[in-house]
């Protein structure tokens, strides 16, 4: 299995996280996203005409888009069906809902990070304000989860793709100048994700315990 990957990409990190949780080994094909802009080059267009990473190549089956890759990996490599609970319509609906939420954090929180780190041109104040609105909602959701014994975005004993999809944008938000101080439940949840067996860090993310 090959992942077209860039170490500082939050979207690639989603896929690396899930591969770690599932215990699936893979090869990283490093794309020079920055500063080389290799993902916009002619050679990479053969792999993904949209010019985005990550792209997964599983023995010839090529799939683009982080969330699509998460769904594929969980469906194929999670025999317990816990990460993507296809047998439980309500939980499955909730997973889809929070993965859509993660699309919103990608265009807000993640965009501010690209602006600060790599100089992408966004209206950063507007995107930060929008990210704060999203985080307020997520923090309240998780606070009530804590009161009812639910550790994860989708209630239930085990984490789902919702947690994987939302985690990178939250844990990297401060790089984009979004202070997480007002979202203690969200911060605590990141600590729980970090304790899932198979968790991996990326630059910008500290392990739960000292390494």
């Amino acid at each position: 299995m090959k992942l077209y990957d860039f170490v500082l990409s939050a979207n690639c990190y989603k896929v690396r996280l899930l591969l770690g949780f599932l215990g699936v080994s893979y090869d990283s094909e490093v794309i020079d996203f920055h500063p080389g802009k290799e993902h916009k080059g002619e050679a990479f267009r053969l792999i993904n005409p949209l010019g985005h990473i990550p792209v997964l190549d599983d023995d010839g089956y090529v799939l683009r888009d982080a969330h699509a890759i998460l769904v594929y990996l969980a469906s194929r490599y999670d025999p317990g069906r816990s990460w993507y609970p296809v047998t439980d319509p309500e939980r499955l609906g909730s997973v889809a809902q929070w993965m859509a939420f993660a699309d919103a954090t990608a265009s807000t929180a993640s965009a501010t990070r690209l602006h600060v780190n790599l100089g992408y041109d966004f209206d950063v104040d507007e995107r930060r304000a929008a990210a704060h609105e999203l985080f307020r909602v997520a923090d309240e959701h998780l606070w009530f989860g804590e009161r009812t014994g639910n550790d994860w975005f989708v209630p239930g004993p085990l984490p789902t793709l919702a947690d994987v999809a939302v985690f990178p944008d939250v844990v990297l938000a401060e790089e984009g100048g979004i202070d997480l101080m007002d979202y203690p439940s969200l911060v605590r949840w990141t600590g729980r994700v970090k304790q899932i067996p198979g968790f991996s860090v990326m630059p910008g993310v500290f392990p739960f315990e000292r390494a």
Binding site: R147, D182, P184, V187, G191, E209
Partner: protein, 590 residues
């Protein structure tokens, strides 16, 4: 935004900075009070620490660090700070050094009440508000941040409405706007009683001043409904409405002001001269027999404070009566910072100290104690550490074993005793790799030491404490096996003096007209302080330059890292904390 000094109207007193849900095990919570950032963490013993959110080394937020249950470990260089005392216990870049006692994080008093963590950053004056309404059953509501000043928030809270809890449990369709409310404004809180449909509920909303433009509303309901969730949801919803209303009404910037105090660098308080000589009155809180002829004493400060930080290997001086000072190793593990635990062996041949302590000192007695000094610091950068104890020499080693265990290091213990009933700390040792060597003759002891040592490797070091003949034998065997001298560390527990490690020389103080002798094992700074010569110091590691003195004569032997080459060669200045004389005499302009 204007540049008025908002500190004029800065609130004083105690405020909540976190909830009990925020300070769960092994987590460091980042809070803020009146612009000051705080690292709030609960140790495994239950104690809640509220500290300034910065490592003293390089100003990195401690809240990104690690709460290991006993100590807070900075993320940048893994400096370790102890529960309660906030003193630094270990600096991994210099594993062989004991951190200076001046390296102590700024901590604030903390009180838990109403499910909230309270603190004050303006001295310990005042107390947590005593709210009679909350003395009975209560329910902690969801705290909400508001981008508005505490003053504005308190004003708006007067119009806050909610429904009585009893109505929510029955699922009534009433609206909060129908409730009759009475608001009572306290200093920094608002008590609201809501009546509707013959039911009534009271809640207290504390306003935490985060910074001049931000607040946190922390509500507590004076009731304990059987079904909490609908009540919590109702309150979260209604308070959320209020927050949006407040934020729409204010024109204050939502942008965060930089944390107050963070613009000034951390400067350790200068250690005034004489400070180190002060003793602390400590009460024997507990005295218990732990083995034959061995008593454990637990000493707590008489004034209820937290005693100075002790590192593994450290000892304290007990001033038992005039002229009778004895040193005892501290046996505490990491995080056990509210008391000193020492173990005392009754020695029938002792000339006073231990026999006096063992027999005459009882629970409730007061002893003058000097702060801990560490002449036996423990490296934690060795893949395998071997601890060798002879008799009561187990005391510094049990502290080391606990520190190594907490750091996840590999170690083994060898404990030599004359008889099985003399084994102390048996239960704790049972959880470690520990071998007991009971009733051996001197020759058998020597043979066993030889076995334990084996062939030296660069990945192993030995710490030993026990009777002099045993330690002498250990050192001789280590030499014979070609162990490097710096891999075998020994402390002679029967020797009350520091082991001489360096030169002795004389300093002439030109302005004070004093001639002082600096003996081996002491620094110039020690001697100056002991003679009441005013001199300030800070790091006491030869790095900050605070304790510099001008040299008028003689050649300094520089051992600091502060002075540059020119200053070194010029020989006009010397750092009194670490440097010495290269000859027999230095003349200082003091």
């Amino acid at each position: 935004m204007s540049d008025v000094d908002l500190r004029d109207e800065a609130p004083t007193g105690w405020f909540p900075v976190a909830t009990e849900h925020d300070v769960i095990a092994r987590v460091v919570f980042r809070g803020q009070l009146d612009g000051r950032e705080l690292a709030v963490w609960r140790a495994d013993d239950g104690f809640v620490n509220v500290w300034e959110n910065r490592c003293l080394h390089r100003g990195v937020r401690l809240s990104i660090g690690c709460n290991d249950g006993n100590e807070l470990v900075c993320r940048y260089h893994a400096w370790r700070y102890a529960n309660r005392s906030a003193g630094c216990t270990y600096i991994p870049a210099h594993p062989a050094d004991a951190p200076s006692r001046t390296i102590t994080a700024q901590s604030y008093a903390a009180v838990e009440r109403y499910g909230l963590i309270w603190t004050t950053t303006n001295g310990d004056e005042g107390s947590v508000p005593d709210i009679g309404t909350l003395s009975g059953p209560r329910l902690l509501l969801r705290s909400l941040p508001v981008n508005a000043s505490p003053q504005t928030v308190r004003e708006h809270l007067g119009s806050h409405r909610f429904l009585p809890a009893a109505l929510l449990e029955t699922g009534t369709a009433a609206s909060a706007d129908d409730a009759e409310v009475v608001a009572d404004h306290g200093e920094s809180w608002v008590t609201i009683t809501a009546d509707a449909a013959g039911e009534s509920s009271t809640a207290v909303f504390f306003v935490q001043p985060v910074d001049p433009h931000r607040s946190m509303i922390r509500g507590v309901l004076a009731d304990a409904p059987a079904d909490e969730i609908p009540v919590l949801r109702h309150h979260a919803y209604e308070l959320g409405r209020l927050v949006r209303k407040i934020e729409e009404a204010v024109e204050e910037p939502a942008e965060r002001t930089p944390p107050r105090g963070f613009e000034t660098p951390v400067i350790l308080p200068a250690n005034p001269w004489g400070h180190q000589r002060a003793t602390l009155s400590m009460v024997v809180d507990r005295k218990a027999a732990v083995a034959a002829d061995i008593a454990l004493f637990e000493l707590v400060p008489e004034d209820g404070s937290t005693p100075p930080t002790a590192q593994p290997g450290a000892h304290i001086d007990l001033h038992l009566r005039p002229g009778l000072v004895r040193q005892y190793s501290i046996t505490n593990g990491p995080g056990e910072t509210d008391r000193y635990r020492i173990a005392v062996k009754r020695d029938p041949h002792s000339r006073g100290g231990s026999a006096f302590l063992y027999e005459a000192i009882e629970e409730g007695d007061t002893i003058e104690v000097s702060p801990p000094h560490n002449g036996f610091p423990l490296r934690r950068n060795i893949p395998r550490t071997t601890l060798i104890a002879g008799g009561i020499g187990i005391t510094p080693l049990i502290a080391m074993a606990q520190a190594l265990d907490a750091s996840g290091m590999t170690f083994d213990v060898h404990y030599f005793v004359a008889a099985p009933q003399q084994i102390a700390f048996r239960r704790r040792l049972a959880t470690y790799t520990c071998e007991f060597h009971v009733g051996l003759t001197p020759a058998q002891t020597t043979d066993t030491l030889l076995d334990i040592l084996g062939t030296p490797t660069p990945t192993r070091q030995v710490y030993a404490c026990g009777p002099p003949p045993m330690l002498d034998a250990l050192k001789a065997k280590a030499r014979a096996l070609n162990w490097p001298a710096d891999a075998v560390h020994v402390e002679y527990f029967e020797n009350t003096n520091e082991i001489a490690t360096d030169s002795s020389f004389v300093i002439d103080l030109a302005r004070s007209a004093l001639t002082l002798e600096v003996p081996s094992g002491s620094t110039m700074l020690d001697v100056l302080r002991a003679n009441d010569v005013p001199i300030v110091s800070s790091c006491e590691l030869g790095a900050c330059g605070s304790c510099a003195a001008t040299v008028l004569g003689g050649d300094p032997l520089h051992q600091d890292v502060y002075l540059n080459d020119a200053e070194r060669q010029g020989g006009q200045v010397v750092l009194t904390c670490v440097s010495r004389a290269s000859g027999e005499r230095l003349v200082l302009d003091l």
